[in-house]
C-alpha cells in the first residue's frame, strides 16, 4: 500500500508537468494547465494523508537497484517514517494552497500555464527529495528543486533583476551543493554506499565507528551541511534568498518560505545520526548567527517581501540551531509550523501586492519593458538590492489597509502572532519554545558555554522577530495611508486567493498540528557520537506539549507533563529530567517576555509613534548602516573580488555589486581577461606557439636548404666533394 501511494504522490505532479512539456514540443498548450496541476497536487495531498497510518514503528526502506557496477551498487528507494509523512503533508498541503492562490494571482499572465507546469515539477522534485532513502536520491531531488527554483525565480525573465536573481540563486546553492557532494564522496569512499538505512546503510556503518576515528566524520557532516547552508540560505550563502523575491509571490511562498528552503533543515535532520559534537556545534552556531543577522537586517527593510525573506532566513537559522543543539523534534516541529505561517505571510503579502498591482495590467511584457528598460542599458548584471523597491511592495506606500482588505489583515495578523511566539494559542509559540527549552536544557545539562551563547542568540532573535513582524503589520495595515492614490486602488483579493489564506490561518493554530502532540509519533534517531544522556534529554523534547494539548493550552508547563514519562529514572536521567524541567520553565518565561517586549517596542515605534524609528536610526547611525547594508556581505564578497581583480579593475568597465553576479561577472571578466589573456598566452603562445615555433623552424630550415640550392652547378659539385670528404670523415670517427 505504501509504494503505490508514494508512486501516485510522485507521479501525479510529474505527469502534469510531462503533459505540458510534451505538448510544448508540439508548440501547444494544455487548455487548463492550472486545474491540471492543482488537481494533481490535491491528489498527492490526499495520498499523503492516507500515508499517515501507514507509518510503522520500524520503517523499512523500500529500495530498488539503480546502478550496479559489480563491486559497488547504488540503490534508489523510499523511506517512510513519521518525519517523511509530516514533510509530505506539509509540502502537498502548502503546494495545493499555493496552486489555488496562484489561479487568482497569476491570472492573465502570458506564461500562465507554464507557471503551473513549473510548480508541478517543483512539487515532484520536492516530494522526491523528501521520500528518498539515500543520499544520491536526496541529492537528485535537491538539485531538481534548485532547478525549479531557478526556473520560477526567473519566471519573468524579461526583468534583468529576475534574470540575475535566478542565476544567483542557482549558483549560490550550487556552491553549497558541491560541498555536499564532496561530503557524499567522503562517505562513499569510507562506506562504499550512499544508502542511509538498512543493514548496509551508512547509519549502521557509522554506529560501528569508534569515537577515535570520527574526525573525518565531522568534516563530512559539515560538508553535507554546506548543501543545507546553500539551500536554506544560511550565512554566509544567504544572499540569494532576498533576491529570489524577484519571483512571483506564490513562488516565494511555496519555495522560498515553506518547502525548498526548509529542505536544508530536513536534510540535516535526516543526517542527524552522523552528526558529531563538532559538526553539530558548527551547525548550531551557523544557525544562531543566521537567525540573528537576518533578524537584524529585517528590522530596517521596507520591501514587504524582503522583510519576510529575511525573517524566513532567520527562522531557518532557528531550525538549524535547534537541530545542531540536538533538539531534533523541536527543529522539525518549527519547520512545519513555520511552513504554514510563513506561507500565509507571503501569500498575504502577495494579496496586498496584488491589491496594489491590480491597476497595473498584470505582469505583462509592456510593464516589464518599463522597469527592465533602464537596467537593460548594459549587459552587465548590476543590481543593487533594496535600492529600488517595486512601489507595490514598498511598505512606505502602504498603511491603513486593514479596512480595505480585512480578511488579508486578519489572517496575516494571526500568522504574525504565531511567528512572534505569542503564548499558547499559536503554534509558533510552541515550536519556538521547544527550541529555546531544548537549547537551554542542554546548556544547563552540560553547562556548556556554547549552548548558553546559542540560547542567548535564539532569545534575542525571537525578540527581534516579534519586533519587525509587528513593524510590518503596523506599517502595512494600521495608521493612515501614506500613498493615497495607491491606497484607493487597493481592494480585497478574490476568493480564490483569500480561501488559501484562511486555510493557512487555521493551520497556524496548534490544534491542527496534532501529529506532533501524539507523544511517540516522532522519535529522534540515535546519535552515536554525541555523548549525552540521550534519553533523559530526549524525553521531554519528544512529546511537544505532552499527550494532551489541553493542559498546555491553559499554560500548564510542558515540563511538568514531562514528568510523566521521564523514562527509566536512573539518578542521572532523573536529574537530567529536572534540569530540563527547569530549563523549559525559564525558557518559556523568557521567550514570552522577549516576545512581549518586541511587540511593545514595535507598537510604540510604528503605531503610537512614541519614538521615531528615524530618530533611533540617526542616533545609532553606524548600527543602522550595518543593518541596512546587510552587514556588507555583498560588499565583502565584492571586496574580495575587487582585491582579486584590482590590478585589472580599470579594464572592467563596470564592476558588479552583487555576490554571485560578482563572482560570475568578476570571474567571468577575470576569466575573459586573465584567462583570455592566458589562453591567448597559453594556447596561442605556449602550445600553438610551440607548434608554430616548430613549424617556423622547419620552414626556416627549408629556406636554408633552398639557399644552398644556388643554381650554380659548381656549388653543387663542391657539395658533392664536401659530401664525399664528410662521409669518409664520419667513417673514420666511428
Amino acid at each position: 500500500m505504501v509504494v503505490p501511494l508514494i508512486s501516485i504522490i510522485l507521479l501525479a505532479p510529474l505527469a502534469s508537468f510531462a503533459i505540458f512539456a510534451l505538448l510544448g514540443l508540439a508548440k501547444r498548450n494544455f487548455p487548463r494547465q492550472d486545474y491540471l496541476s492543482t488537481f494533481a497536487m490535491l491528489v498527492a495531498l490526499g495520498c499523503s494523508l492516507l500515508l499517515i497510518q501507514e507509518v510503522t514503528s520500524e520503517p523499512t526502506p523500500l529500495t530498488v537497484e539503480w546502478l550496479s557496477l559489480g563491486s559497488v551498487n547504488f540503490s534508489m528507494g523510499f523511506y517512510l517514517d513519521s518525519v517523511t509523512v509530516i514533510m509530505l503533508i506539509v509540502v502537498t498541503l502548502v503546494s495545493s494552497l499555493v496552486h489555488i492562490f496562484s489561479i487568482g494571482y497569476m491570472h492573465g499572465d502570458p506564461r500562465y500555464s507554464r507557471f503551473f507546469a513549473f510548480l508541478s515539477l517543483f512539487s515532484f522534485s520536492m516530494l522526491f527529495l523528501v521520500v528518498s532513502d539515500n543520499l544520491l536520491g536526496i541529492y537528485i531531488g535537491w538539485e531538481l528543486v534548485g532547478l525549479c527554483s531557478y526556473l520560477l525565480i526567473g519566471f519573468w525573465f524579461e526583468k534583468d533583476t529576475a534574470a540575475n536573481a535566478c542565476k544567483k540563486a542557482f549558483l549560490t546553492t550550487r556552491v553549497g551543493d558541491v560541498g555536499m557532494f564532496i561530503g557524499m564522496m567522503m562517505l562513499f569512499a569510507e562506506f562504499r554506499t550512499l544508502s542511509l538505512y538498512g543493514d548496509t546503510g551508512i547509519f549502521e556503518a557509522v554506529a560501528t565507528l569508534e569515537s577515535g576515528q570520527i574526525a573525518w566524520l565531522s568534516i563530512a557532516g559539515i560538508l553535507i551541511f554546506c548543501g543545507a547552508v546553500g539551500k536554506s540560505a544560511q550565512v554566509p550563502l544567504h544572499t540569494w534568498l532576498p533576491d529570489a523575491m524577484e519571483g512571483p509571490t506564490p513562488v516565494s511562498a511555496l519555495i522560498h518560505a515553506a518547502t525548498m528552503v526548509a529542505a536544508g533543515v530536513y536534510l540535516v535532520a535526516r543526517m542527524f545520526p552522523i552528526l558529531t559534537p563538532t559538526s553539530s556545534l558548527v551547525i548550531a552556531y551557523v544557525g544562531g548567527i543566521t537567525a540573528l543577522v537576518a533578524a537584524t537586517i529585517a528590522i530596517v527593510r521596507f520591501d514587504i517581501k524582503r522583510v519576510l525573506a529575511y525573517s524566513t532566513i532567520s527562522q531557518l537559522g532557528y531550525m538549524m540551531l535547534a537541530i545542531g543543539a540536538g533538539s531534533y523534534v523541536a527543529g522539525l516541529f518549527h519547520l512545519t509550523t513555520h511552513a504554514f505561517f510563513k506561507a500565509l505571510l507571503f501569500l498575504g503579502s502577495g494579496s496586498v501586492i496584488h491589491a496594489f498591482h491590480a491597476m497595473h495590467a498584470h505582469h505583462d511584457d509592456a510593464e516589464h519593458t518599463e522597469d527592465a528598460a533602464h537596467e537593460h542599458a548594459d549587459n552587465s548584471l548590476v543590481h543593487e538590492h533594496g535600492s529600488e523597491i517595486p512601489p507595490d511592495q514598498d511598505m512606505r506606500n502602504m498603511g491603513g489597509l486593514r479596512r480595505k482588505m480585512p480578511l488579508t489583515f486578519i489572517t496575516m495578523l494571526i500568522a504574525t502572532l504565531s511567528i512572534s511566539g505569542v503564548p499558547f494559542v499559536f503554534s509558533g509559540f510552541w515550536s519556538k519554545d521547544k527550541i529555546l527549552g531544548g537549547v537551554l536544557g542542554r546548556a544547563m545539562e552540560w553547562n556548556s558555554v556554547h549552548h548558553y551563547i546559542l540560547f542567548a542568540m535564539a532569545l534575542i532573535a525571537a525578540g527581534i522577530t516579534a519586533f519587525y513582524m509587528f513593524r510590518l503589520i503596523f506599517m502595512t495595515f494600521f495608521g493612515e495611508p501614506r500613498n493615497q492614490e495607491m491606497h484607493d486602488m487597493a481592494h480585497e483579493s478574490p476568493w480564490v486567493m483569500v480561501v488559501p489564506l484562511i486555510v493557512l490561518a487555521v493551520l497556524s493554530f496548534p490544534v491542527v498540528n496534532t501529529l506532533w502532540f501524539n507523544k511517540d509519533y516522532i522519535e529522534p534517531p540515535p546519535q552515536h557520537h554525541i555523548p549525552a544522556p540521550q534519553h533523559a534529554y530526549v524525553s521531554p523534547d519528544s512529546k511537544i506539549g505532552d499527550a494532551n494539548f489541553g493542559f498546555s493550552l491553559f499554560g500548564v508547563s510542558t515540563a511538568q507533563a514531562a514528568e510523566e514519562d521521564a523514562g527509566p529514572d536512573t539518578a542521572q536521567a532523573d536529574d537530567a529530567y529536572h534540569i530540563h524541567h527547569r530549563a523549559h520553565n525559564i525558557a518559556m518565561v523568557l521567550s514570552i517576555c522577549v516576545a512581549g517586549l518586541g511587540i511593545l517596542l514595535s507598537w510604540l515605534f510604528y503605531h503610537r509613534r512614541r519614538f521615531s524609528a528615524e530618530g533611533v536610526a540617526t542616533t545609532f547611525r553606524p548600527v543602522y548602516n550595518l543593518f541596512w547594508n546587510k552587514y556588507y556581505f555583498d560588499e565583502f564578497y565584492d571586496g574580495v573580488l575587487v582585491a582579486l581583480t584590482v590590478w585589472k579593475s580599470r579594464l572592467f568597465a563596470k564592476f558588479d555589486l552583487s555576490f554571485i553576479d560578482g563572482i560570475v561577472n568578476g570571474v567571468g571578466k577575470i576569466t575573459r581577461d586573465i584567462f583570455a589573456a592566458f589562453i591567448g598566452f597559453f594556447d596561442n603562445r605556449v602550445v600553438d606557439g610551440f607548434v608554430n615555433r616548430v613549424a617556423e623552424v622547419t620552414w626556416a630550415a627549408g629556406g636554408r636548404i633552398r639557399k644552398i640550392q644556388t643554381g650554380a652547378i659548381q656549388t653543387y659539385l663542391f657539395v658533392v666533394l664536401g659530401g664525399i670528404v664528410l662521409i669518409i670523415l664520419i667513417f673514420r670517427l666511428f
Binding site: R706, Q709, G711, I713, Q714
Partner: protein, 110 residues
Amino acid sequence: MSLQHYLVISSILFSLGIFAVLTRKNAISILMGIELILNSCNLNFVAFSRFVTPAETIVGSEVFRFDGQIIAIFGIVLAAAEAAVFLAIILAIYREFGSIRPDEVDTLKG
C-alpha cells in the same frame, strides 16, 4: 716503374680534373676536367690490370688477362660519347643564354 707511380699520377690527374671542374668559369674547361677524371680512371684500370691481375701461363709463356685494358677502352669510348653530348648541350646553352659561363646558367634554383 712500380704500381705506385701510376697510381700517384692517376690521382694527380683526378685531382686536377676535379679542380678544373670546380673552378673553371668556362664550360669547355669543365669538360676538359671531366676528361681528365675519366682518363685518370683509365690509367688506373690499365695499371691495375698490368700489376695486379694474376697472369695465367698458357703453353709455357705468360699470358696477361686484359680486363683492365678492356675497361679502359670502353671508358675512352664513353668519354668520347659524353664529350659529344656535352658539346651539343653547350651549344644549346650558348644559343639560349649567349654565354657558356656555368655560373651564369642559374635560372633554376631554390
